[in-house]
């Protein structure tokens, strides 16, 4: 993709996007190809500020990717500097996602910002947005085993944080159940009972894998991160936690 300066054109496009959101939603299907043409025509600019460079260094995204994500960020935040939960809740495609609330929450969870923070925040800036996104970056092709392990750990940590809503370092049965219930909430006929049964069975499985046979009076209080790593030992994180971030701006294609 080539990049030439057409900042103003892009800006206009977003103004347009924002102001005519309603209309666009109605004419989305029709206006589809037209908008592709517009985007293809308006080449993106290489950001001249240093901010992007540092962001790129910190998160590993390429400059083009950052530019695209920044556009998206601005689109979501209605051109504000920060993003709020409500902004994310308006995303249409996300509505059908059973774990929507967890995903949104993950963006406001300061544990995911890689600065040792705890607790959740009300609004995030672009840097945080990008940091959270960077969990889903594909690892570079040639890396050592250690690096791979590190990447794997961080991806799993992200998942773990999604479960562990109360920040106490363990996933309790209740938290686990909640997630399973959400996961199954779209499958209709299956009630909470099933979800509960599954969560219980899963929990028990964790207990048997991580602790081994327990003495009669033992109580398994929750999954710690170490146990979490253990139980997901055989799962291929590489294939499951990746997004191919586009170098081409597709925001308008599918909102």
């Amino acid at each position: 993709m080539q990049f030439a300066c057409a900042c103003s054109a892009r800006q206009m496009l977003y103004e347009c996007n924002r102001n005519h959101r309603k209309i666009e939603q109605q004419t989305r299907r029709l206006g589809y190809w037209w908008r592709i043409t517009v985007v293809m025509g308006s080449f993106q600019s290489l950001p001249d500020d240093h901010q992007y460079q540092t962001l790129s260094k910190n998160t590993g995204f390429s400059l083009e990717q950052i530019a695209i994500l920044h556009n998206r960020f601005k689109q979501l935040s209605q051109n504000e500097e920060t993003l709020r939960r409500d902004d994310l809740k308006t995303i249409q495609d996300l509505e059908s996602n059973p774990i929507r609330s967890q995903i949104i929450e993950a963006f406001f969870d300061s544990r995911n910002f890689q600065n040792d923070g705890v607790g959740s925040v009300e609004e995030i800036g672009f840097e945080e947005f990008l940091t959270v996104m960077s969990y889903f970056r594909a690892p570079p092709q040639h890396i050592t085993e250690e690096q791979r392990e590190k990447i794997r750990r961080s991806k799993l940590r992200f998942l773990f944080n999604m479960h562990d809503t109360d920040n106490d370092g363990t996933i309790t049965l209740e938290e686990y159940r909640h997630v399973v219930e959400e996961l199954l909430s779209r499958s209709g006929a299956l009630g909470r009972e099933t979800a509960k049964g599954i969560a219980d069975a899963a929990m028990l499985e964790v207990a048997s894998i991580s602790v081994g046979p327990m003495a009669p009076d033992d109580f398994y209080e929750g999954i710690t991160f170490e146990h979490f790593l253990k139980i997901l030992n055989g799962v291929e994180i590489e294939t499951n936690m990746h997004i191919r971030f586009l170098n081409m701006d597709a925001t308008v294609l599918c909102k």
Partner: protein, 809 residues
């Protein structure tokens, strides 16, 4: 397959002999067969029966007649299939052979031996796989087999790559090999200048069809990672389709004297029409088939037939319209599989799978076998230069093609193929049955048909023997990325789903789409509309639930296996796998000759299900736990119900949860039940015969020593009544409900008894526990034991359950 022996032959006799001897029939069979060995049309029959007949005049009624010509064709076909099957059985008697040498190698070898015998007896090669026979009868089972057992989910996740390799890769190979061979033909020293470009292209298209069986078996054994597996599988499948289209196309072109440019473009256009037309027909027939099975609820016995009829119909109609019939049947199988398996009964499902496997396997076995025979008996036209260069080019273009094509496709893949993967792909390009059959069915108008057949055989034998045998050691040597497919735990399933949803969500968030986006959309459409139309009993089911059921069933089965242990004491089924160790401990205490005997008997009668599910199906064998599951499924409902009913009702909430997490059962059993108390009280069991799960009725707990006796009875009876269990499930449900009350009261007594010991030590820690409990959603715990509607649990309500939903793969 018409093995058209026009001459009565010593060979037939030999085959009969082999078959009869191996079958262990007596000499009397040989007596009957002897006349067939000679020529009945020329010689008077030698049967002793007929010799006693004084008047062999035709007009009188003979006491004993032989009408061999009448049965000749089916008889010989049967014998060939039988011989091939014996060969297959033979390989697997000594299992180590098939580990190191692919089955196709062995089949070809057997064919070579048989061919050698025939040759030494100056027997003509059993003629012939005709084009019609191959395309109408032998090819459909092979492709239906691959299509039906294709793991759907990985296929669609890698659909682009699969198609890329199958279509572009095959074109690349055909055109590359064809043109380079044509260049070779221009060299005078080889003396093959008369082969035209069209013929070379035709030949090239024949030998670019790769064959998956041997490769997939190896891949499976060393559990190679999913992407590679599915790309090889899918490539082989769709590449058959492309090859056949190309073959017909070049066949058509080769027949022309002059090729015009317009003709070529027309053919290219046809290529797409043929391929896409096949797909559309496949989808159409798939949906119609699924829709039909919606109404077969009352006529279970013809359910499997529907599947075969529609698949074959799709194939035939596609053939009629001259669109890609392979594409049609494969897509048809892919489409209907998912819906059909939900509609049909468990038994029909098993039948379908077995029959498809059987036909596919027989077809392929015969072709390989036949290849061996033909290699020896046919006249070859040997041309060193041409054949060696063919071999060289076939390997070269395959390697190059993979290298180039992966370079192009890699940027579009989430997980790019690395160099090792590329090597696997290139080296896994064995040629097989389809290539041979295509070469063999070439029309006689092709001038160098013999040379082509020889070339094809050389390539097949080279790739199958050398590459096939060295593939496994090489893959081990270069240590390709593997996947741990045995990780079928609930947790990993949950997390896989969780990750999928997360990734889809994040993609939505950053406004991109990819296959997750489309997958989401499709699943929504599928659940809302398609399933409603096509599936009789529509209950959308997530793969987590499917897996949960499966694991639960496995547990249930293991409990049954360990019958002498303390089954009914378990608080709930799901906690039982924790108890296994305890159970085995207590079994040791109970050891007596009686118990061990019974246990042996039990384990013989019972299906083993300890092996984990094979997530991919081997091309030549079904997933081995199907039988086990079938039984399981039928027991599932009642078994689980009685367990839960027995253990949950009547206990109070705190005890429940305590048991659940701390699992004091083993201990309480060991300590709380001195051996002296474990005496069978001898109460007569007056429960109905079909009510086999009654063995887990809690009152038995007190008479644990007696367990082995009871289960044995019930199990025997179950084995005999298995066929009717489906129907019985309905009755039992009602029956069970009526008995629930009594169960509850008994279990109340028992469980309180059981927890006596543990709850006593436990009272000190009561305070602690209350805390823990309050953290663990107390209301949830309280609800559980009260839940009399367990019987109506969605997991238990379905009488049959699909062992492999597409998700599950």
């Amino acid at each position: 397959m018409v093995l058209n022996f026009n001459q009565r032959s010593p060979f037939t006799f030999l085959m009969c002999l082999i078959c009869t001897v191996s079958l262990g029939y007596g000499a009397n069979v040989n007596v009957i067969l002897e006349p067939t060995a000679t020529s009945p049309s020329k010689l008077p029959p030698l049967s002793p029966m007929e010799e006693t007949d004084p008047d062999p005049v035709e007009t009188t009624q003979a006491v004993f007649t032989l009408d061999y010509p009448r049965i000749q064709i089916p008889f010989e076909i049967t014998l060939w299939v039988l011989l091939a099957s014996f060969a297959k059985i033979g390989f697997h008697v000594y299992h180590k052979i098939t580990v190191w040498v692919p089955e196709s190698c062995l089949l070809i070898s057997i064919g070579l031996i048989v061919g050698g015998i025939m040759h030494s007896l100056h027997e003509k090669p059993p003629a012939v796989l005709t084009s019609n026979v191959f395309f109408l009868y032998m090819l459909p089972p092979i492709v239906l087999d691959s299509g039906y057992f294709m793991p759907t989910r990985p296929l669609f996740e890698n659909f682009g790559t699969v198609l890329w390799f199958a279509v572009v890769g095959t074109l690349w190979n055909s055109i590359g090999i064809g043109i380079s061979l044509f260049a070779i033909c221009q060299i005078e020293a080889f003396g093959v200048q008369d082969i035209t470009l069209q013929e070379n292209l035709l030949f090239a298209s024949i030998i670019s069809a790769v064959e998956p069986v041997a490769v997939l078996t190896v891949f499976e054994d060393i559990s190679i990672h999913e992407q590679l597996y599915i790309v090889v599988f899918g490539e082989c499948l769709f590449n058959d389709a492309v090859t056949v289209v190309l073959y017909n196309l070049f066949n058509h072109v080769a027949a022309l004297e002059v090729v015009e440019a317009g003709e070529v473009f027309l053919d290219i256009g046809r290529f797409f029409v043929v391929g896409l037309g096949g797909m559309i027909f496949g989808v159409l027939f798939g949906f119609v088939a699924a829709f039909t099975t919606r109404f077969t609820g009352k006529v279970r016995e013809i359910e499997p037939l529907i599947i075969f009829l529609y698949s074959y119909l799709a194939y035939l109609i596609a053939e009629l319209l001259a669109i890609s019939s392979i594409m049609a049947i494969v897509i048809c199988a892919l489409t209907m599989k998912y819906y059909v398996e939900e509609n049909v009964s468990q038994r029909s499902c098993t039948t379908i799978r077995h029959v498809i496997k059987m036909f596919g396997s027989v077809s392929e076995t015969l072709i390989f076998f036949f290849l061996g025979v033909v290699t020896i008996t046919t006249e070859h036209q040997w041309n060193w230069g041409y054949i060696l260069f063919t071999l060289l080019f076939a390997l070269l273009w395959r390697g190059l093609g993979i290298l180039v094509l992966t370079q192009i496709i890699n940027p579009f893949r989430t997980i790019p193929f690395n160099f090792k993967d590329q090597f696997c792909l290139a080296y896994g390009g064995l040629r097989g049955a389809v290539s041979f059959a295509l070469a063999f069915t070439l029309p006689d108008s092709i001038g160098c048909k013999k040379l082509f057949i020889t070339g094809t055989i050389v390539i097949i034998i080279f790739t199958v023997f050398i590459q096939g045998i060295t593939l496994r050691p090489l893959l081990k040597l270069i240590n390709v990325r593997k996947t741990n497919r045995n990780q079928e735990t609930i947790n990993s399933e949950i997390h896989k789903r969780l990750m999928e949803h997360t990734v889809a969500g994040i993609e939505d968030l950053c406004g991109q789409w990819s296959h997750y986006y489309w997958k989401d959309k499709f699943m929504k459409f599928n659940n809302r509309i398609i399933r409603k139309i096509l599936i009789r009993d529509n209950r959308p089911e997530s793969s987590i639930v499917a897996l949960y059921k499966k694991l639960e069933l496995q547990n249930a089965m293991e409990i049954l296996d360990q019958m002498p242990g303390d089954i009914s004491a378990a608080p709930s089924l799901i906690s039982l796998h924790k108890e296994r160790k305890n159970a085995s401990k207590s079994r040791k205490k109970l050891l007596s000759s009686d118990v061990t005997n019974m246990h042996e008997l039990l384990s013989k009668n019972m299906y083993k299900i300890r092996q984990r599910t094979v997530s991919y199906t081997n091309k030549h064998s079904l997933p081995n736990d199907i039988t086990a599951r079938e039984i399981l499924m039928r027991r599932h409902t009642s078994l689980r119900r009685s367990l839960r009913a027995g253990s949950f009702h009547g206990t109070n909430a705190s005890k429940m949860s305590h048991n659940y997490f701390s699992l004091p059962m083993g201990r309480s059993l060991n300590t709380g039940f001195p051996p002296g108390r474990l005496v069978h009280t001898g109460d007569g069991d007056t429960e109905s015969e079909i009510d086999y799960p009654s063995i887990r009725r809690p009152r038995r707990v007190s008479s644990k020593a007696a367990m082995p006796l009871r289960p044995l009875n019930t199990l025997k009876e179950v084995a005999s009544s298995v066929d009717t269990v489906d129907e019985q499930n309905e009755e039992q449900r009602g029956y069970r409900r009526s008995h629930l009350g009594s169960n509850v009261s008994r279990s109340g007594h028992l469980t309180s008894h059981l927890h006596h010991g543990s709850s006593r030590n436990y009272s000190e820690g009561d305070h602690d526990f209350e805390e823990q409990q309050s953290r663990l959603s107390p209301h949830a715990w309280v609800q559980e034991p009260q839940d009399n509607s367990d019987v109506q649990h969605p997991l238990m309500r379905r009488p049959h359950w699909l062992p492999q939903t597409p998700h599950d793969k």
